[in-house]
């Protein structure tokens, strides 16, 4: 009979191995099996039909590898990652953070003698004079605070808030959404009505109230507080994803195999919803950093003597005309962080979306044609 007629791709094919002949029809029973041997063996590429063409792009890769590969192709996201990593390194090492010692000579709370008139930045970048960092590269305020140290401190606080909100809101959102989507019925109604209620109240208002309660709070408490008003979008999306995934046959298959609800949720559905979750967690973070900034700007977030990017801007907005550097540097960091996170989220979304196919450029297609002709 036809044992072992199945194309047997071995455990470890070379990454660029020829397409596994999956598209080749499995031979028919009995004496007909040998007929396949008579079939014209076109060159390998000819053996690839539409399915094989699709398989070609995913061959020998796990789902995670495919996602990673697609992510690396998203240039914007890669640049954003480099930027964000650079900012994080700069922010943590420059003035030090917790146990990490800093290499910058000034700190953010002391005042220093004013170097340039009006406290203008000492940073010089020009063709003729070269690059000088100077004493206070980002300038000083009227009292003599070092703007570089303050911006670094502000960015630290803002990043802390961002990560806290991102993680906590994701956890709450996934818990609520998964429970509602998987169990449906009463649990769903109850949880979703509660979510609706939370959505109906403007985030800014809740933020203000919470900010007021935790007045003069640290980044930690503010982050915790804001996470409780930011999980709703996540829970809705996760619920929708669970609603559709729970109807898939592999969930039924797991249930017939004897899996409990917890196991189905954790082992079978959650890994399939991870794309949605990661993408939205990143986008949530970019919203979080802007929300923190906005609240601090309004004076309900992080307060003097501690510093965040938002309260720097608010503090110095009146000085915008005379000392623009007090405004621009924190602003630059806010924009860069928010943009980077957004780009990364965008790249992740593209990478996780299996339907998205890249349309090759004319030049690339022509090159491939030349290569084929040369062969």
């Amino acid at each position: 009979m036809s044992q072992n007629q199945v194309p047997a791709p071995d455990a470890a094919p070379a990454p660029d191995a020829v397409p596994a002949p999956d598209a080749a029809p499995e031979p028919v029973a009995g004496g007909l099996a040998n007929l396949t041997g008579l079939l014209p063996q076109g060159d390998l590429a000819a053996g690839a039909g539409e399915n094989a063409i699709e398989l070609k792009a995913t061959e020998g890769l796990s789902q995670g590898q495919i996602v990673r590969r697609r992510f690396w192709r998203h240039r914007g996201a890669i640049v954003a990652m480099v930027f964000l990593a650079g900012i994080i390194v700069l922010v943590t090492t420059s003035i030090g953070w917790g146990p990490i010692p800093g290499w910058w000579k000034h700190n953010y709370s002391s005042t220093y003698p004013i170097v340039n008139p009006g406290g203008a930045p000492t940073l010089v970048v020009s063709l003729t004079e070269g690059v000088h960092i100077g004493e206070h590269p980002f300038g000083q305020d009227t009292v003599g605070h070092d703007m570089f140290a303050m911006t670094m401190r502000g960015a630290q606080q803002s990043l802390t808030v961002m990560v806290l909100i991102g993680l906590l809101a994701t956890v709450i959102g996934v818990l609520v959404g998964a429970t509602a989507g998987f169990f449906r019925g009463k649990a769903d109604t109850l949880l979703m009505r509660f979510t609706d209620m939370m959505i109906a109240i403007p985030v800014m208002v809740i933020g203000l109230v919470l900010g007021h309660w935790v007045n003069g709070a640290s980044a930690l408490t503010l982050g915790l507080a804001l996470a409780f008003v930011q999980w709703m979008a996540m829970s809705r999306l996760v619920r929708a994803e669970f609603l559709s995934l729970r109807e898939r046959e592999f969930v039924d298959a797991a249930r017939v195999a004897g899996a409990s609800s917890t196991r189905i949720i954790v082992k079978h559905i959650l890994p399939n919803a991870v794309g949605v979750i990661i993408v939205n967690a990143t986008l949530l973070m970019s919203v979080a950093i802007l929300l923190e900034t906005a609240l601090s700007y309004l004076g309900f977030g992080i307060h003097f003597p501690d510093i965040s990017l938002g309260n720097l801007i608010s503090e110095y907005q009146s000085a915008f005309a005379q000392r623009p550097w007090l405004f621009w540097w924190p602003g630059f960091f806010i924009i860069t962080i928010a943009l980077s996170v957004n780009f990364i989220g965008d790249g992740l979304r593209d990478a996780f979306d299996p339907r998205q196919r890249r349309i090759p450029s004319k030049r690339k297609m022509a090159r491939a044609a030349r290569k084929a002709a040369a062969r």
Partner: protein
């Protein structure tokens, strides 16, 4: 290649409507061009049906889409396509646009997705008319009505204002054909026009298309994988494999004297309904038929003595006389009495009663086929038997457990004795789990094996379904459809079930793959002697495996009996109709059957 496509009768014929020669379609993937169609050539004359057959991935759809420029942007087309002497390859998009619809029309596989759900079908047809001609809307509507009449839409004056979701599948397909005929196209491309439809509806639509060919005198390109449909419709056939046309010729020639080994293979792989009483009509004297014999004989059950319908448990006697079963031989592994199943009320839509008053017994080691059209409730029964759907009323006893109102802990134990193979192998395997884990999951969950022992069992199970154990670390998307379904079978067999539910396990597969999976299935059944409820809409497939067949319609059991009884001497009108509607891959036989079917349909 061109030599083969010139297989025309000797007498001079008018110029063909469509002449395709040297057509190549390539797709750009990861920096390289992969050919989907290579040097394809054929001609279509007025009033002629040319069928392009082949399995998925053979390039049949891509080569047809290339005719009208409906390919994704990473495709490239070369060669020549002449429609009435005009070259279509390399034509500007705007010009092609005027040709699409006006001279070439398409009918797609899935009418629900091809029609816009937010407009009435009348509106959509009128829109097509007015996009190509300046016709007043009143006249266009009159024309739309005329077209709906042409495609035999029942009560066209009312149906014209219906939305697609208000129509049945067959009516939708009729509406789509009407839309395609709006501007009297010279060429109609039908891409698997009946694949999504039930056999009885398929027979009607095929009848309509045959009828239309005579009335409108346009050429039809029929793309399909169903040899029965081909036998029913085609004048000439092109067989495609791996992007090339491997054989082309007149329909009878392809069916009765296929020359290319692939064509023979394809014909042999099609399960055939054995309807004629033995020796009443000589079987085809052609090589494929001879070749097919050993193949289907291997699949066929050893001829069991036909059990008395009243005592189905004994039916197992022939098939399952193996050892180890004697102790429970009499006790059926599944028995339902007055079984009623409902889908619970959701929101404002009330509860839906899917199955009513369903009585069936399956003896140990017995294979029972359950056939019916879509919506007949056959899959619902399967889901209820594995406890995925609660029993609403009546009794359902499976593997010694009464499922009516069963406690979760007992259900868990009951499930050790029963498992299921799902229809779509792509959806029934968790895409994020390596297949080894999927297969081993039932064992791990029932604490029957762990660690090394579990690994060994998984390897053994994969071996059983003829998959190399090295595949265990692969993910489902890396496997072909046939391999995935084997994995599904391996998982279902993991607990050595007494009863296996097979819910259309091969309907998503190509014919040749289906043949191997069915063969494997029947081998496994003979080896392990599990009882099986084989659910399918395809009578020919059920006939290969089952010793008894149960026919369902609209949630009720219509008829049960041995395979031979049901197929050759059906008692109920519905069963007769179902059998008559199945197209047989044999042009002459099919022509006779069609005549009989039409006579019955229109007395």
């Amino acid at each position: 290649m061109t030599a083969q496509s010139n297989d025309r009768p000797a007498q001079p014929r008018p110029e063909p409507i469509l002449r395709v020669s040297g057509l190549n379609v390539d797709f750009y993937v990861e920096g390289e061009w992969f050919p989907a169609a290579i040097d394809v050539g054929y001609e279509v004359h007025a009033g002629e049906v040319v069928a392009i057959v082949g399995e998925s991935g053979s390039g049949k759809t891509q080569s047809a889409m290339a005719l009208v420029g409906l390919l994704p942007p990473n495709a490239r087309v070369s060669g020549s396509v002449k429609l009435d002497g005009r070259e279509l390859v390399g034509m500007r998009a705007s010009e092609l646009q005027t040709i699409r619809g006006a001279q070439v029309a398409m009918v797609f596989q899935e009418p629900m997705t091809a029609l816009n759900p937010v407009y009435t079908i009348g509106f959509q047809i009128v829109e097509t008319i007015r996009a190509h001609s300046r016709m007043a809307s009143k006249r266009a509507r009159a024309r739309a009505l005329e077209l709906l009449r042409l495609v035999d839409m029942p009560d066209p004056a009312t149906r014209i204002d219906y939305y697609p979701h208000q129509l049945s599948g067959g009516q939708r397909q009729r509406a789509m054909i009407a839309q395609a005929l709006v501007l009297d196209p010279k060429l109609l491309i039908a891409d698997e026009p009946t694949t999504a439809l039930d056999v009885t509806v398929q027979a009607e639509i095929l009848g309509l298309m045959r009828d239309l060919r005579r009335r409108i005198d346009s050429g039809i390109i029929l793309i399909t994988h169903d040899m029965g449909v081909v036998a029913d419709m085609a004048d000439r056939i092109c067989v495609m494999k791996d992007g090339r046309i491997v054989e082309a010729g007149a329909s009878r020639q392809i069916f009765y004297q296929p020359r290319h080994p692939y064509t023979k293979l394809l014909l042999a792989a099609v399960p055939k309904l054995d309807l004629e009483p033995a020796d009443a009509a000589p079987r085809l004297p052609s090589p494929p038929a001879d070749a097919a014999r050993p193949a289907s004989a291997a699949i066929r059950q050893p001829p069991a003595p036909p059990p008395a319908p009243a005592e189905p448990g004994l039916g197992a006697g022939g098939a399952a006389s193996g050892k180890g079963l004697s102790a429970e031989a009499g006790e059926p592994v599944m028995a339902s009495e007055g079984l009623t199943l409902e889908y619970p009320r959701r929101g404002r839509t009330g509860a839906f009663r899917a199955v009513e008053d369903f009585d069936l017994r399956i003896g140990p080691g017995e294979v029972v086929g359950l056939v019916g059209e879509s919506g007949s409730g056959k899959s619902t029964v399967g889901r209820a038997v594995v406890g995925l759907l609660p029993v609403h009323a009546g009794s359902l006893k499976v593997a010694g457990y009464q499922l009516n109102g069963i406690r979760p802990a007992d259900l868990r134990r009951a499930r050790e004795g029963v498992s299921i193979v799902f229809q779509d192998p792509g959806s029934s395997l968790n895409p994020r789990l390596p297949i080894g884990q999927s297969v081993g999951e039932p064992l791990a969950l029932h604490r029957l094996a762990r660690g090394k022992e579990l690994d060994a069992r998984v390897a053994e199970l994969l071996e059983q379904v003829r998959l190399p154990a090295s595949l265990r670390n692969r993910y489902p998307h890396e496997l072909s459809g046939g391999q995935r379904q084997r994995v599904g079978i391996a998982r279902a067999l993991a607990l050595k079930p007494k009863l296996l539910i097979a819910d259309e396990p091969t309907s998503a597969l190509d014919v040749s793959v289906q043949a191997t999976v069915l063969e494997l299935f029947s081998e496994l059944q003979q080896e392990h002697h599990f009882a099986c409820l084989f659910i399918s809409h395809d009578l020919a497939v059920v006939e290969l495996l089952a010793s008894r067949i149960a026919v369902m319609s609209k949630g009720r059991l219509v008829e049960t009996g041995t395979a031979a009884e049901i197929l050759r001497h059906p008692r109920e009108a519905y069963t007769r109709e179902l059998i008559a509607a199945v197209p047989v891959p044999d042009p002459d036989l099919q022509a006779r059957r069609r005549l009989a079917f039409e006579r019955r349909a229109r007395p």
